[in-house]
Subunit: 290 residues, 2 copies
């Protein structure tokens, strides 16, 4: 069956490189494909099987000792579509293989510790795909824009993040950092959509407008965070997200691509298959009282 | 569109009542439906929408203070289909709304504590559907059959479980306990199937045959555990599971039914919708540097 959604390697197109400028990324663009919404939805469904088989293999091989795992960090302005990516891409994985951590505003106890203290316990174990919905990057995004921490502390954090990501990458964690990038106009449309539908009212947060008014400051903070922490072992991808179908298909492909680089295989086992078969067959004659 | 899979209220048919006897449950039966495999798979897909909308409402209303949540406890002999139920029923939920805890053989640290110590942190918070893949019931199943704890300790645990479940139910947790019930012949067939397919070898555990040889002892332990802990606020359901399609559709319906009893609603919010709309609209004229 003919199937050609991506005309190009989208992971190469979206990966942040030396000299990256967020301003040059058009949130309304759809790099790597000429398809439309219908095509994007078809791609998402089509590639679910590929994603799930890779994830199952990753999980399976961890049962016999492989240590590979993936950590996806998802960051974005409000209403940029993080929830949709979780519910349409990561929902395609087996629940066993997904470790989702949603980071809210830090609690009093969390604030009493170093900013990475609450993150460490959520680093995924072998065989898992960890997903951070917001993350330690909030500590250099809203915390920078809102001056929740002094400038020298924010500066320190870029280095601390780099050290942290280096360390867990050395331990076998494949890190993929994704910014969903929408335009302020698209955000307004989505906030108004939430306000126009009683079933979506609960998703609206009055604080979102306050943050929205600081859009340029947030874009500067994203630019700084991205350029300060992008590394070969912990790349950033900036995904144009005005078109939800595009963002979802692109994130799915980025995750598939990372899993392909790991190349997980159905594991060989260390027991004697024929002998085990004989053991099971020997029990077939037993008759137990019902 | 005509759609009638269940001819009867399956939750009533499968719920354990006074005088329950596990021996009288036929693992090959399909109570409450006359359908076949194809019908079961259609039902599972058909009802996904209903399940997900209820779960989304449960999650949504917790954001404005509702405390309702559900805890599903899944117990079964090896190869009875727990994994399939997780991957085909619970995978239909939003990842945000599902809290899955898979309990393995206890670690040294866990064994140094009371058996409920490791369970407590996994009781789901408001708005969530918690799922225990194995649970504190292992402590009165394998631990009884294998004499891992003295008889008086096993006896004590029935009461401790009852107290624990009473306490969390009082706090708003709806508890649903499910035993997937297969026949020993079906188990043998599934173990041989795993041994016959290299992609499934990793799912095979040589220890499964050792436990299999104790089938009657396990059935006695299940009978005792179920009759000792079934309660109106923490009912047991025994689901015939030789037919995977039946077990999955039945578990899906049991969960839907429990959610319907909660009756979650899209929450009313406490902000002024018109005022918020005006606030967003006021930002539309702003022009920010790209």
């Amino acid at each position: 069956m003919a199937h050609k959604f991506w005309t190009d390697d989208v992971t190469e197109l979206l990966r942040v490189r030396e000299g990256f400028s967020l301003r040059e990324v058009d949130p309304g663009s759809t790099p790597g494909t000429n398809a439309n919404k219908r095509g994007g939805q078809a791609e998402l469904a089509w590639s679910a099987q590929e994603l799930r088989e890779l994830q199952e293999k990753l999980f399976a091989q961890s049962r016999v000792g492989a240590r590979d795992r993936v950590l996806v960090v998802l960051q974005a302005m409000d209403a940029a579509g993080k929830g949709g990516v979780v519910n349409h891409v990561f929902a395609q994985l087996e629940p066993y293989g997904l470790a989702l951590a949603a980071f809210k505003a830090p609690t009093e106890e969390e604030r009493a510790h170093d900013f990475l203290w609450r993150v460490e316990p959520h680093v995924p174990g072998p065989g898992l795909i960890g997903l951070f919905d917001r993350s330690h990057y909030e500590d250099v995004l809203i915390q920078r824009v809102r001056s929740f921490a002094p400038p020298e502390e924010i500066e320190r954090r870029y280095g601390a993040i780099t050290d942290f990501e280096r360390r867990i990458a050395d331990d076998g964690v494949r890190i993929v950092k994704i910014m969903l990038h929408i335009s302020p106009e698209e955000q307004a449309a989505r906030l108004l959509d939430r306000l126009g539908d009683p079933e979506k009212h609960w998703k609206y947060n009055a604080g979102d407008v306050d943050e929205r008014l600081l859009w340029p400051e947030y874009m500067d903070a994203f630019q700084l965070a991205i350029e300060s922490t992008a590394a070969p072992h912990a790349p950033w991808y900036v995904v144009p997200a005005n078109a939800k179908w595009y963002a979802r298909a692109a994130v799915q492909r980025i995750v598939i691509s990372e899993l392909q680089r790991i190349g997980p295989e159905w594991p060989a086992v260390d027991f004697d298959v024929a002998a085990e078969r004989a053991r099971v067959e020997a029990t077939l004659g037993l008759s137990w009282p019902n």
